[in-house]
Amino acid sequence: MAAFSVRAMQIELSNLSKSYGTAPVLRDVKLTLQGGQVHALMGENGAGKSTLIRVLAGVTPADSIDLTIDGRAVNLRSAADAADLGLRFVHQELNIVPQLTVAENIGLSRPTPTRLGLIDWGKLNTRATAALARFGATHIDPRAQAGSLGTGDRILIVLAGLLADETPARVLVMDEPTAALTHAEADRLFAVIAELKAQGAAVLYVSHRMEEVMQIADRVTVLRDGLVAMTTPTGTTTKEAVIHAMTGRTLTHVYPPRRGTIHSGNVLEVDELSAGPLHGISFSLRHGETLGIAGLENAGQSALLQAILGAVPRRGAVRLAGNLAPASPASAWAAGMAYVPRERRREGLMLGRGITPNITLPHLAAHAWHGIFSSAKAERDTATRLGAQVALKYDRVDQNVATLSGGNQQKIVFARAIASDPRLVLLDEPTRGVDVGARADIYALIAGLGAKGAGVLMTSSDLPELIGLCDRIAVLRDGTIGCIIPTDDLTPARLLSLIYGDTTIKDAS
């Protein structure tokens, strides 16, 4: 335990305030990190968690802050200062440089090892290899260009960046690192955290997943409206108490009840579909049905959704309500499909633009007189209405979405998908980074789509969520569907073993 640590350091953060314009985001926040402990930071979307972390990283200047490390006052003026103090970060959004190699990305915030002023590639690569190995990511070549990696591997190299030091890092700060990780990867991360903790590191950990917080954290601090609502050892509290501190309400039923109103006709038929890593995929989805897609990382869940949308070249037939769907996203949306992409910032949002154009993007013709002259008012009204439906937290509808919190950005992408009463909704990790309260709202909306007769096809790395929401789950293996099983008696453990290739159970579909 921490008691054996040689240097149990202590970081004290107090009197932290920050506002954007007139809107306060953090108000007189106080937080203590202890060497050898994992400290969880929780709160609704927009509560200020990421802002706190960016202040600690020296990238966002606070209005006021007192920071001491082992009793010594320190001053953070830049990201380099924080790095020099031994603080290591995984920020909320995926920030890699595709043009650089994996090893360079891993060492990005560290001084690069050099010999005679030139980069010492050997040393850099060795260090990266070691860091990757600790996450079990031995399949990643440190010399590869980072841009050639898939999303899952990109996250792994960001995580490996935590471990690229010669001496173990003293403080590790992670902003929703598991939001896009599979179970196996998350478990490896937890193991690494445990090791670091044993070495005396202080960990600050942000997540919206209650289970993992209760599992790995020693203390939890809850932010609400920029104020510290609660700070307590996890041993002395419960999930319900934390959720109550976050939201002010008690959530008993997280997943909406199954209504069983699946209609007879098929909304989607996929026949011998091949695309990218996928081959020979066939299944059908009925009106009102929700089908989950599960699999290991890189099993092709995202590729499947994109192929059905027509966003990647495909072979085989895709029928929407009996009609062959042309292979282009534009005709897909026009025919009544809607899509929530996996990487909201790269594939979903126009960062730098307001909320309204981001929500109305696929529905512009519907908000125009005879499809010709746009009505700014109609567009704004839709944005406002949908914003309310997904519990979006914002100041103004013309607010730049880049200034919204990660969870709220996700809600915008989701709002866009449900705006036009779609017949088929393709959801790739729809609740990634969404807080518990809003997550329940989104679950209700997904259930509502089903109730209106729409088909839903979704992926999620949160297995309980997948089981809770879906009627059936298709497990992808080796680029094809291994089995499709109903979720009635399915447990997360059972699903996990199916994902790992347990073939003793027959295809139950």
């Binding site: 282009s328 790269r346 949002l349 126009m350 960062l351 696929p362 512009l364 908000h367 499809g371």
Partner: protein, 315 residues
């Protein structure tokens, strides 16, 4: 602070106007001079307005200048061959359409970076203009009078003798404004500029939109080329080339005035006017042409810097 950012360029423009008014009390802010300025700048304005269309998508069209030259030459060659005016004008506009579609094809179907694609077509169009004109200036009797008279026409309007070229530029302005600001088409162009991949996945027909937007710009450049040829009553294979950099400068000046730093055609208008007023005012003040060049560069930078201070970043 945000206000300084947003209105910096506009304030700068007003400042420039006041300065020239002060320095040239009798000759600057007169109806005649202002109408003159509006006519002098009309060709640049048309190019800058249509350049705004492709820049809304985050693209560029470096070929507008040589397209303007080519269009003028195409009309001139038709005139010289004895065809009636409408044929020459029609051929020039068709050249603009074809060139624009070709740009659009390279950019949207072949997915070549617009900067490179239009750098390539800049060279090609300019070569074609030389080839068509055999490198000569087509002028004199080869240019029908009615064609060159057009640029000298004035139409009484709101009690003002509005130059025809000015009215044409205003017409293009209104059209671009409606298309960009008031139609789903324009909004989609801005969406492409905001995030092309996101727009595509959200069902925007990227290929078609980029293709047509470049075609639009090509036709606009051809119109400007015709205006130019009419104004100088001649056509030579390089006369429009200078329009490109100025048009881009105008759009960028305008971009400093929009919230999110995206190009807006009304902003472009202000950018164009700043360039025109500086040229007119400084040459009225008999400022040495070299110094004038330095001053114009410096003033552009100052305007944009004030616009940037609050945090306009590169897109």
């Amino acid at each position: 602070m945000t206000h300084l950012r947003r209105y910096g360029t506009l304030i700068g423009f007003v400042g420039i106007l006041l300065f020239f008014w002060w320095e040239l009390p009798d000759t600057f802010l007169t109806q005649g001079n202002l109408l003159n300025i509006s006519r002098q700048v009309s060709m640049l304005a048309v190019v800058a307005f249509v350049m705004t269309v492709v820049m809304a998508m985050g693209d560029f069209d470096l070929s507008v200048g040589s397209m303007a030259s080519l269009a003028g030459v195409v009309a001139g060659v038709s005139f010289a061959a004895g065809y009636p005016i409408w044929v020459g004008v029609g051929a020039a506009l068709l050249a603009g359409l074809a060139g624009g579609l070709f740009n659009g094809f390279l950019v949207s179907v072949l997915r070549i970076l617009p900067f490179v694609a239009t750098l390539g077509t800049l060279t090609v169009f300019s070569g074609l203009a030389f080839l068509a004109s055999d490198g000569r200036t087509i002028s004199g009797a080869n240019i029908p009078d009615a064609f060159s008279q057009f640029a000298r026409l004035r139409v009484e309007m709101l009690g003002l003798p509005m130059p025809s070229l000015t009215l044409l530029a205003i017409a293009v302005l209104v059209m671009v404004w409606v298309v960009l600001e008031q139609t789903p088409y324009g909004r989609r162009l801005y969406a492409i500029g905001g995030n092309m991949e996101a727009a595509r996945l959200a069902g925007t027909r990227i290929v078609k939109l980029r293709l047509t937007a470049f075609a639009f710009t090509g036709v606009g450049a051809a119109i400007a080329g015709l205006m130019y040829a009419s104004r100088v009553a001649s056509a030579n294979p390089t006369q429009g080339d200078g329009l490109m950099l100025d048009a881009i400068a105008a759009v960028f000046l305008g971009m400093t005035m929009s919230d999110e730093g995206e190009p807006r055609v009304l902003g472009t208008l202000v950018g164009v006017l700043i360039l025109a007023v500086l040229d007119n005012g400084l040459s009225q003040m008999s400022v040495d042409s070299y110094v004038r060049e330095i001053l114009i560069g410096g003033i552009i930078l100052m305007a944009v810097a004030s616009g940037s201070l609050g945090g306009l970043r590169r897109r």
